[in-house]
């Protein structure tokens, strides 16, 4: 099934859902925005594909509350897995705010409404307006914001039986074995999806060996609160307060998992910040923690490669070329982490050029709305 089919299915799903949801929301006192940035562009590729926190079909919509014009985020689903994901996210927010061994936590948008209407679960929170998007802050400010966010997460360390009891029910515990098993799956699925890609196969082999050889290091830094999708579009920074938008991606695992995801993201959007963070960990936290960071970068790159190789069979034209370009780029990034070297600047530049020329207009608009370009 190709790009057009999948996109069409997604667009039809969105259209039919919006037709049903709009009057429901209107009765509840909310109006949707004309342009829905979170469901357009390449969003259809990401539907149901999460590594942590559920994988259901749900819509994330923007709108406003009629009585006062307050901007809101509306998460809504009638898909069983999507409903579970929304409920799970809400529970994570509540539990985290009340954990007595968490010294500091993130801010979260105010909950305005949680309700079931016919077969839909609806979860509405305030929209957090950002004057300055994360990537628009100075490099120094981005560095300090990132470090603050990571220290908040690592301050939540579940080690005793009472901690484990509180958090395992809600967040889940990921051990080194879980990470390695997942990576084995990333490797096999990626190779199945892109069987003729020798670079992919070789790099994955090398990466998998590296992870397995350092299983103890992965385990050493587990039991910390971590976020599987810690990237700027899941955060809002208001003055200096960091708001977390996606609580369902929180779990207890290796503390560098969120750092790894964030660093991989910055390989494209701010390579200087990525190197600054690597440098900081290496010089201030010691060799073992730095190794743990590299291991988690590789783990998250495995997930990214599995995702993009998985789109090859379902995409055509520019989208297919874009998937191949992304696969090539992320293989290079994985190799650079394995070799403990920076990603070459020319590679990043070339990748940006490819993104600009191959992305759809709709996706470029979505990226601009999300302030990622």
């Amino acid at each position: 099934m190709k790009t057009v089919d999948n996109k069409q299915i997604w667009d039809e799903y969105c259209k039919s859902e919006l037709k049903v949801i709009t009057p429901i929301l209107s009765k509840l006192g909310f109006t949707l925005d004309q342009i829905q940035v979170h469901i357009g562009g390449e969003r259809y590729l990401m539907a149901i594909k999460r590594d942590v926190g559920g994988g259901g079909k749900k819509l994330v919509l923007t709108g406003h509350r009629n009585i006062d014009g307050k901007r809101v985020i509306i998460k809504i689903s009638r898909d069983i897995a999507g409903i579970e994901e929304i409920k799970h996210e809400r529970k994570c927010r509540d539990v985290l705010q009340n954990i007595n061994f968490a010294y500091r936590t993130f801010f979260s948008p105010e909950e305005l409404l949680f309700t079931k209407q016919k077969s839909h679960i609806i979860f509405i929170t305030t929209y957090i307006e950002e004057r300055t998007a994360f990537l628009q802050h100075s490099m120094q400010d981005q560095f300090f914001l990132a470090m603050r966010a990571f220290e908040v997460q690592e301050s939540v360390h579940a080690t005793t039986s009472s901690h484990t009891k509180i958090i395992s029910k809600t967040f889940g515990l990921t051990s080194a074995k879980n990470y390695l098993d997942s990576f084995d799956m990333f490797e096999s699925e990626s190779k199945d999806s892109d069987p003729n890609n020798n670079d992919l196969a070789l790099t994955f082999n090398k990466a998998n060996n590296f992870l397995h050889q350092n299983k103890n290091i992965i385990e050493q830094y587990c039991d910390f609160l971590t976020h599987s999708d810690f990237v700027p579009h899941n955060l809002r920074v208001v003055d200096r307060d960091i708001y977390l938008l996606d609580y369902s991606a929180l779990h207890f695992g290796n503390k560098y998992e969120s750092f790894g995801r964030f660093s991989n993201y910055m390989a494209i959007y701010n390579p200087e910040l990525r190197m600054a963070l690597f440098d900081y960990v290496k010089k201030n936290r010691g060799e073992e923690e730095y190794l743990s960071l590299r291991l988690m970068c590789i783990y998250k790159l495995g997930f990214i490669l599995k995702f993009h190789t998985g789109t090859l069979a379902n995409t055509a034209g520019n989208m297919n070329e874009l998937s191949k370009e992304r696969i090539g780029f992320w293989i290079h990034v994985m190799e650079s982490v394995l070799d403990d070297k920076p990603v070459p600047e020319e590679l990043v530049k070339k990748h940006h050029q490819a993104l600009s020329s191959l992305r759809s207009e709709e996706e470029i608009r979505r990226q601009k709305e999300l302030k990622q370009i």
Binding site: S155, E219, Q220, Y221, C222, R240, M275, K283
Partner: protein, 379 residues
């Protein structure tokens, strides 16, 4: 000597005393046979140091028993058990000490009952006030009772300041002669990926924002300082109930361009703003005044604080910092103005801070003094 370091926390845990214990073991291993007995699931390793890890995952009574047994097993031939204060290690160490006849020294860093009360939001008092007028729930009182028992049974207790020896002695009814001062070493300097150049006329205060600290005086001081020093800027790091009132005051005085509230900061940023500020205002009601002062010395930032028994231990007025009599706007303006104008004085104070670090608060001094204590109790 054969030494056991008994600790409730050890890396990869990040909270104190975890980093201290690792650094201590690395420093002591050259001269002594060191074993660390820690509650840990996957402890970081150090060459030539034996790490005995007891899982925290068991139910509390079970892990206490397991820890006691592990400590007992490791204690063969041991000369001293150096306990990093915490009820989960104090109690087992005292039991093992009694059975084996091994001397037990408890290192007091922070009061654990107070820490627990803060964590449970039962108090907003600083440590000293809490110990004078303690209150708390059953759990907090139990921790105090266990601490009292352990402190009374230990051979010696080390405290990070002379001031605290009196507080501990009074709070736990212990003879002062059994409490020895052992100053804490500094935290590691942060190595940042950019420089922290000093920003002229920048003042920093890093503290919890509560009413008792009279932070409005500093804000009024900034208003007055701006007359002669228009570039004066105050950075307020920390969080607390008074934040809203203080921000309101800043708006009323039209100082929003000169006063920034930056909230909670990471270790990296805390280091950076301290290093890049010309003056650090140290509030002695801070939760960890000795550490705060030491970190300012490490950052080579000019220090101003109020004179009292605790600050006078670390700061020599006019040599390593400025000790004011009062925390009011006029005195603050007078002192800060002088320092803004006098580069040589700032340099002198910074140099004095470095000397104090080297003489009193360095790792070398800490290890030297600890070795003296250990030698003195050797059987």
């Amino acid at each position: 000597m054969k030494i056991i370091i008994a600790t409730p926390l050890y890396p990869p845990d990040i909270a104190e005393p975890a980093p201290y214990v690792k650094e201590l073991a690395k420093n002591l291993r050259h001269k002594h046979d060191i074993t660390v007995v820690a509650y840990a699931n996957n402890p970081e390793k150090i060459s030539r140091v034996k790490i005995v890890a007891v899982s925290k995952r068991d139910w509390l009574p079970v892990r206490l028993i397991k820890y006691t047994l592990a400590l007992y097993k490791a204690s063969k031939g041991t000369d001293v058990i150096y306990v990093q204060n915490g009820p989960s290690v104090d109690f087992p160490a005292i039991i093992v000490g009694k059975i084996t006849g091994i001397n037990v020294i408890i290192r007091f860093s922070h009061d654990k009952a107070w820490e627990r009360a803060v964590q449970l939001r039962l108090t907003d008092k600083n440590q000293e006030e809490f110990l004078k007028y303690s209150n708390g729930n059953l759990q907090v009182r139990l921790i105090m009772a266990l601490q009292k028992f352990a402190f009374r049974q230990a051979l010696l207790i080390t405290a990070p300041s002379v001031y605290l020896t009196t507080i501990i002695a009074n709070a736990y009814k212990i003879e002062k002669k059994r409490i020895i001062v052992l100053y804490n070493p500094p935290e590691k300097e942060q190595i940042l990926p950019f420089t922290s150049a000093i920003i002229p006329y920048q003042i920093l205060i890093h503290t919890s924002l509560i009413k008792e600290k009279k932070l409005q005086e500093i804000i009024y001081a900034v208003l007055l300082l701006k007359k002669d020093f228009p570039s004066t800027k105050l950075i307020v790091a920390g969080i607390g109930q008074e934040e809203t009132n203080l921000k309101k005051l800043v708006q009323e005085l039209d100082l929003h361009d000169s006063v920034s509230f930056i909230g909670h900061v990471s270790r990296a940023e805390s280091w950076h703003i301290r290093k890049s500020s010309q003056i650090y205002l140290q509030n002695p009601k801070n939760e960890d005044t000795p550490c705060d002062i030491i970190n300012t010395f490490v950052a080579e930032t000019t220090l101003i604080t109020i004179k009292n028994d605790m600050t006078s231990e670390a700061v020599v007025n006019g040599e390593s910092g400025i000790l004011t009599e009062n925390w009011n706007r006029s005195e603050l303006v007078s002192v800060i103005s002088q320092l803004f104008k006098d580069h040589e004085m700032r340099k002198k104070l910074s140099g004095g801070g470095q000397r104090t670090l080297s003489e009193k608060f360095s790792w070398e001094t800490h290890i030297h003094n600890l070795n003296l204590i250990l030698e003195s109790i050797k059987k």
